[in-house]
Amino acid sequence: MKRILQIFLFSGLMLAGLSLNAQSQSDMCINEYLVINTSDFEDDYGQHNGWIELFNSSYGTVNIAGCYLTNDPGNLTKYIIPKGDVLTKIKPRQHILFWADNQPFRGTFHINFKLEDSEEILFVASDGRTIIDRIQIRRDLDSNVSFGRFNDGIGTRDGSEGWQIMSRTSPSTNNTGSDVESASTVFQRIDPFGAIMAFTAMSVVFIALILLYVVFKQIGRYNIYKNRQRTEQVHGKDVAAKEEDVSAEIFAAISAAMHLHNMDSESHDIENTILTIARVTKNYSPWSSKIYTLRETPSKK
C-alpha cells in the first residue's frame, strides 16, 4: 500500500512537472504575420520574405526550443525550433520573429515553409501534439500589409476578435506602438496635484483595514461569547459575568507573578554539592584560560 502511494505521488509530481513546462510554453502566442513581403523589412540575408511573430505574454522567460511551427494540421512537427540556441529563450513580454522563407538552413529563425502556400499557422508545444496557438491566414491581405493582434497577446485564436489589419507592420515590436503613455505619464496629465491618487489610494487603504476591522470585531465577539458559555457551564452565570471584566493586564500580572515565583524556586541559596575526599584537579591549558579569551562585547549601560 505504501509503495502504491509512493508511485502515485511520484507520478503526480512528474505530471505536475510536465504540465508546468507546457504551461510556460502555452504563454506564447502568434501575434502578427505578414504573408507577401515585396518592399517591407528585409531579413538578415537582405531578402524580402513573409514572417510570423510570436509573443511571450507572460512575465517570465519562456524557452521555445523544441517547439514546432507548422502550416499543416496533419503534420504538427513540420519545423522544429532548434535546441541549443540562446535566442530561443524569450524574455517576458517580448517578441520573436520567424522568416517564412522555406530556407531552414539559414538559421534558427528561418522556417521550412512559406505563408503564400499556407492556409493557417500553428504553434505546437515541444511534445509535438499540443497546439498552443493557431490562426487562419487571411487571403485578402495586400502586399506588405500584416495582420496582427491589436494589443500584444490579446485576442481570439480565429482572428475574429482582437485582431486587425495593421496600419504598419511591426515585426519584433509592440503592435500598439511605442507611443503608449506610461502609467506615470497618465497620472501626471490627469492628476497634476495628486488629489485623485490620494483619494483613491486612501480609500483602498481604509477599505482593506475596515474589512479587517469588521472581521476581527466579529471573531472577537464570537470568542468572548464562547468563553462566556464555557465559564457558565463550569461556574455558573454570575462568575461568567465577572470574568468578562478581567482584562489582559490582569492575566499579564498573574503570569509575571507566576514566572517570578518559578524563578525564585530555581534560584535557591543552597547549591547541590558533593562532598568527596577525591582530589579534583584542574589542569592549566591556555585554551581554557580566561586570560587569553576575548574580552566581553562592550555593552552600553
Binding site: A183, F193, G194, A201, A208, L212, K217, G220
Partner: protein
C-alpha cells in the same frame, strides 16, 4: 644613467600609485558625505538613535564615499564587485520582504486584535504618504518619483526601499537614508505635534485595558489578514505575504525554530546588509544633488502630516464614541509605523501628563496597523505607477 632610469621608474610608479589613492581622487562631496556618515555613527552611539540602523548606514556611507579610481571593480555601482552583488538585494528589492518576515515573526498583534478599531488609526496615518506625494508633484518630481518619495511618510524603511527600487531607483539612496533618519528622529518630531493638536483633557483619557486574546485569534489573524489585504492589493504581495507569514510562524506554536530564525539571525543578517549597502549607495556624485535636499524636506513634512492626521483622526473617532470607550489621541501618532519607537513616544508623552497612564500597549495597535497600512499603500502606489 641606469640609476636615473631606475629612479624615474620608481617615481613614475609612486606617482601612479598616488593617483589611485583616495587622497588624489577626493572631492569636497566625498568629505561631506564621510562627515555625514560619521554624524550618523555619532548619533547612534552617543544619542542611541536607532543604532541598529544608523551604525550600518553610517559606516556604509563612509565605505561608499571612499574616493575610488574607477575601474577597480570595488565600487557599489561597478558591476560584479562584492558591494554590487550585495547591493542587488536592495536594487532587486528582495531584502525588504525578508526584513518583513522578521518583523512579522517578532510582532504581537494582540493589541490590534483585542481592539480592532485601532486598525483605522493605522490607515489614517497613511495620509502622510499621499500628502508627501502631492508636495513632491508640486516640486516637479514625476508621479513615479513622487510615489517613491511619498512612502517615506509610511515610516517604514524596508517599504521605502522596496518601493523606490521599483519606482525611482536613482533616488533610492536619498529616500532610504531620509526614511531611516526620520524614523530615528521620531522622538524629536512627533511630541510637539501631539501636544499642539491635543488638549489636556484629551491627553488624560484612560483607555479600557485590552481584553485577553485567544491563541486561535492570533493564529487566524495572519491568515485572514493576508488573504484580505493581498486580495485587495496584490501588488503588495511580497511585503504583506512575508509580514503575515512571519507572524504565522510566531503564532502557530509549532514552528518556533523558524520563527526564532526569522526574528533573530535572519533579520539581523539582512539588517546588516541592507544598512551597509544603502549607505554605500549614497555616493557623493549621486547623492549630493538638489533633489536629495528636496527629498529630505518632503520626508520631514510627510512625518509631520502622518503624525497630525493620526492624532486628528483619533479625535474624530472620539466624537462618535461614548464616554468610557474613548481613545487617547496621543496614540494617533503611532499609526505612522516606525515600530516600536512611535508607540514609545505615545507612552512617554502620556506619562508626562499622568504618571499612571501607560499607553504603550494601546499604541502598539495603531503601530502595527501602520505597518500593514504602509505595505498596502506601497502596493497601491506600485500598482498605479509602475
Amino acid at each position: 644613467m641606469e640609476n636615473k632610469g631606475l629612479f624615474s621608474l620608481l617615481v613614475d610608479n609612486l606617482t601612479q600609485f598616488l593617483q589611485y589613492t583616495g587622497f588624489a581622487n577626493a572631492t569636497w562631496g566625498h568629505i561631506l558625505m564621510i562627515a555625514i556618515g560619521l554624524l550618523f555613527i555619532y548619533l547612534a552611539i552617543k544619542k542611541d538613535w536607532e543604532p541598529l540602523l544608523l551604525v550600518p548606514i553610517g559606516f556604509g556611507i563612509i565605505i561608499g564615499n571612499i574616493p575610488l579610481f574607477p575601474g577597480l571593480s570595488v565600487g557599489v555601482y561597478e558591476e560584479g564587485s562584492v558591494l554590487n552583488i550585495l547591493y542587488q538585494g536592495v536594487q532587486q528589492g528582495w531584502y525588504p520582504p525578508l526584513i518583513f518576515l522578521g518583523i512579522g515573526a517578532m510582532t504581537d498583534f494582540s493589541a490590534l486584535i483585542s481592539n480592532p478599531k485601532l486598525l483605522l488609526i493605522g490607515a489614517a496615518a497613511q495620509f502622510g504618504i499621499f500628502g508627501a506625494y502631492a508636495i513632491a508633484l508640486l516640486l516637479g518630481f514625476s508621479p513615479a518619483e513622487a510615489g517613491a518619495i511619498g512612502i517615506i511618510g509610511g515610516a517604514d524603511g524596508p517599504t521605502a526601499i522596496f518601493l523606490s527600487s521599483r519606482l525611482a531607483p536613482d533616488l533610492m539612496g536619498a529616500i532610504a537614508v531620509s526614511a531611516y533618519s526620520y524614523m530615528a528622529l521620531v522622538p524629536v518630531i512627533q511630541p510637539p505635534i501631539m501636544r499642539l493638536l491635543t488638549n489636556r483633557k484629551e491627553r488624560l483619557i484612560k483607555m479600557k485595558p485590552p481584553r485577553a486574546v485567544s491563541q486561535t485569534e492570533k493564529k487566524l489573524f495572519p491568515i485572514i489578514g493576508f488573504l484580505m489585504t493581498a486580495f485587495i492589493v496584490p501588488s503588495g504581495l511580497p511585503l504583506l505575504g512575508m509580514l503575515f507569514f512571519g507572524n504565522l510562524l510566531k503564532e502557530s506554536g509549532v514552528t518556533r525554530r523558524l520563527a526564532e530564525t526569522a526574528r533573530g539571525p535572519l533579520i539581523d543578517v539582512i539588517t546588516i546588509l541592507i544598512g551597509v549597502t544603502v549607505g554605500c549607495s549614497t555616493q557623493a556624485d549621486k547623492f549630493l544633488q538638489l533633489k536629495s535636499v528636496y527629498i529630505f524636506g518632503i520626508g520631514a513634512l510627510s512625518f509631520v502630516i502622518a503624525t497630525a492626521t493620526g492624532v486628528l483622526f483619533v479625535k474624530l473617532i472620539n466624537t462618535m464614541l461614548k464616554e468610557g470607550s474613548k481613545i487617547n489621541p496621543l496614540i494617533g501618532n503611532a499609526g505612522v509605523s516606525a515600530v516600536p519607537d512611535s508607540a514609545r513616544v505615545s507612552n512617554n508623552v502620556g506619562l508626562e501628563y499622568d504618571k499612571s497612564n501607560y499607553l504603550l500597549m494601546h499604541a502598539m495597535g495603531p503601530n502595527v496597523a501602520g505597518v500593514i497600512g504602509s505595505a498596502v499603500a506601497a502596493g497601491i502606489l506600485l500598482g498605479f505607477l509602475s
